[in-house]
């Protein structure tokens, strides 16, 4: 058995496979990612473990395992699921990235947000709290809006104060939610313009659960996005596949 662990900023993902995927799990990272990882691995047998995600350097020395970057993990995972995949968009908790793959599946170019939470799941999470909706509902709320307004700031801190003033102006929550999604999609679009885009485009990470983001990105990029059945575990799957290929 081969395992891949993706220690993200918000969730830890595990995929176990041999010939095919045998097991997978997603749990929240919390404040003690190492303990969470140990819990997740406990009782699961694996011959080789590959670790990716923000916590990789913390977890790998403690539980034993090799390290690969998330870029590689998502590239490998997406390519396994869709052999004709050439572009991967990942919106995770702490970062968003776009990866352009060669015909052979090698990483050709990638773009990632650098230091701030702009354009990430975290951004939406903070905004959902301000709008008093659950993160799982904010996409649907945005889609229900019949009005288009604009949020100019992508900085989480500034955007939050912008949202507060929109609320004070009496704007509807759904319109504000839509504007926030629009801001993220614009940001991701900029990254795609830098790397270039080739079909098939796979949309992975927790952000892919959000139907409004899918719709807006499809409009902006003028293409259909493929969302895997389990978008969050694509990185862990890639890591597990790397464990298997040695």
């Amino acid at each position: 058995m081969f395992a891949g662990l993706d220690v993200g900023s918000r969730t830890v993902k595990l995929v176990v496979l041999d010939g095919k995927v045998r097991d997978s799990a997603v749990i929240t990272t919390g404040v003690d990612p190492l303990r969470r990882c140990r819990e997740l691995l406990n009782g699961r047998e694996c011959d080789r473990l590959v670790i990716t995600g923000y916590g990789r350097h913390l977890v790998a020395p403690a539980v034993g395992g090799e390290i690969i970057s998330e870029i590689k993990a998502f590239a490998v995972g997406a390519r396994y699921l869709y052999p004709d995949c050439h572009t991967v968009i990942d919106i995770g908790g702490q970062d968003s990235k776009v990866i352009l793959l060669s015909d052979k599946g090698e990483v050709q170019k990638f773009e990632m947000n650098d230091r701030c939470a702009a354009g990430t799941g975290k951004f939406l999470e903070v905004m959902a709290r301000t709008l008093e909706v659950d993160i799982s509902e904010i996409g649907g709320l945005a889609l229900s809006s019949s009005k288009t307004i604009r949020i100019n700031s992508l900085c989480t801190v500034f955007a939050e104060s912008e949202v507060v003033s929109l609320i004070a102006k009496g704007e509807e929550a759904s319109a504000i939610a839509l504007a926030l999604h629009e801001a993220i999609a614009t940001r991701v679009e900029t990254m795609v313009r830098r790397t270039g885009i080739r079909e098939r485009v796979v949309f992975a990470g927790g952000g892919a659960f959000n139907r409004c983001l899918v719709k807006l990105l499809e409009q902006k990029l003028q293409t259909t996005l493929t969302v895997p059945g389990s978008p969050q575990t694509v990185g862990a799957l890639g890591a597990a596949l790397m464990a298997r290929s040695g």
Binding site: Y54, I68, I71, D95, V107, Q108, M112, D114, R115
Partner: protein, 425 residues
């Protein structure tokens, strides 16, 4: 000894309490980043010593020099012709700062969206924690960027600043302007020191500075070997120290280090495996103790083989040409040499793109990381041209924008490790 230093700092007007906090932070950081490296050249011992006593012995030498009536001239840029400073009997010291420590102090005055190098340097003066600036008689600024240009006006309220005008184009008119600036700088140095700059003194200064440049050129040429005989971190440190150490001693130490590395290269010895990815850093300068990017790259198993920056090749890649010993010819040669620094303040600046592409081949680099300090607009925007050019040449490039803080270390590691995976195959 330690007490002597404290007394000296006090006399220089240092804020002792804050300064001590800075001094306390350095050893742990240096241990982690530098002393923990394996197979370091013995010649790095000198540089370890210099960092270990960073505000001690060298400052004392400057203070002694001043007691004898000598002057100390502080600079922030490789455009300031140090030959002229030496020839006037003054000592130049580079003041650029590379620590987050002094930034909060600076932000009380400067806009936050100013580059870290400017804030850090300004903060050192404002908070009185840098004995080098305290011990200097004149600060010489220049107009290579808008942030510094305006900062100098404010700095001038604390300590005298003289600003040289660096042109933004490389036309004949610009060259004439720069030549006039170099001449004016000579007059200013003579006025400051009361010493006449003679052709003989200037010739000696040119030789001295050229000798140090040659020693640095040797160092960088040795880094072209596979495996590299020295880590990028160590080579960077040696380059950084040459901004303020005594020029004769520094040249000696560099040459001794070079001799040692030459032996390593002959024996095929290196500090990283021969198949470690070889990376060139290009972009903004890295002032002591800014070792952040090198540390992340080399901790990920790659080796930095060259820096195309002002704390790298732009400092020493050209010599001042030998001329007849008369002031007009010498000053012209000096002006020509400095005008040929391929700084992003110029437009256009194609020569820098040529340099990076050429270096990538010479140093057998697997990739280039373009480093720019956040809010450094010239380098950030020129990176677009760098990217286009390297794409044409088939050289992988990663663009990184950061500052002195550690809060983005996770994101940087992520991107750098992914980049190394990409270039390794």
């Amino acid at each position: 000894m330690a007490n002597d230093n404290v007394q000296m700092w006090q006399e220089l007007g240092i804020d002792l309490k804050m300064h001590q906090a800075l001094m306390d932070a350095l050893p742990t950081m240096f241990q982690e980043i530098y002393l923990s490296q394996k197979d370091r050249p013995a010649g790095m011992g000198f540089y370890d010593f210099v960092v270990g006593d960073i505000h001690g012995i060298r400052v004392k030498e400057l203070v002694e020099h001043r007691k004898k009536g000598g002057k100390v001239v502080a600079t922030y840029c490789v455009f300031v012709p140090e030959e002229i400073v030496w020839a006037a009997g003054a000592i130049p010291v580079g003041l650029c700062a590379g620590t987050q420590f002094s930034i909060p102090a600076a932000e009380a005055v400067l806009p936050r969206n100013t580059c870290a190098l400017i804030k850090s340097s300004f903060g050192f003066k404002l908070a009185r924690i840098c004995p080098y600036v305290q011990a200097s008689d004149l600060i010489v600024g220049e107009t290579t960027c808008d942030g510094k240009k305006k900062m100098f006006e404010i700095l001038n309220e604390y300590q005298p600043v003289y600003v040289m005008e660096v042109p933004n184009k490389k036309t004949e008119k610009s060259r004439a302007l720069w030549l006039a600036e170099v001449k004016a700088f000579k007059d200013r140095m003579e006025k400051l020191t009361g010493n006449k700059i003679t052709a003989a003194k200037l010739e000696k200064a040119i030789e001295q500075v050229n000798a140090r440049r040659k020693a640095l050129q040797r160092l960088y040429n040795l880094r072209k070997a596979v495996p590299s005989p020295i880590s990028g971190k160590d080579a960077l440190l040696a380059t950084q120290v040459s901004f303020y150490d005594d020029i004769v001693r520094d040249t000696q130490m560099l040459n001794a280090l070079d001799d040692e590395l030459e032996k390593r290269v002959k024996a095929g010895e290196g500090v990283f495996p021969a198949d470690a990815p070889r990376i060139i850093i290009s972009g903004s300068p890295m002032a002591i103790p800014n070792w952040k990017l090198h540390h992340i790259i080399e901790s990920a198993g790659a080796v930095v083989v060259a820096e195309e920056s002002c704390t790298g090749t732009r400092l020493f890649s050209d010599l001042v040409e030998k001329t007849p010993v008369n002031l007009d010819a010498q000053i012209k040669a000096i002006a020509d040499r400095y005008m040929n620094i391929h700084c992003a303040c110029f437009t256009p600046n194609e020569e820098r793109l040529d340099d990076i592409a050429r270096m990538a081949k010479e140093y057998r680099a697997d990739g280039v990381i373009h480093y720019n300090l956040q809010f450094c607009h010239t380098y950030a925007t020129e990176a677009v041209q760098v990217e286009k050019r390297l794409e044409k040449e088939g050289i992988p490039l990663l663009r990184v924008e950061t500052d002195y803080s550690d809060e983005d270390a996770g994101q940087l590691k992520n991107r750098i490790e992914a980049f190394l995976e990409m270039v390794k195959r």
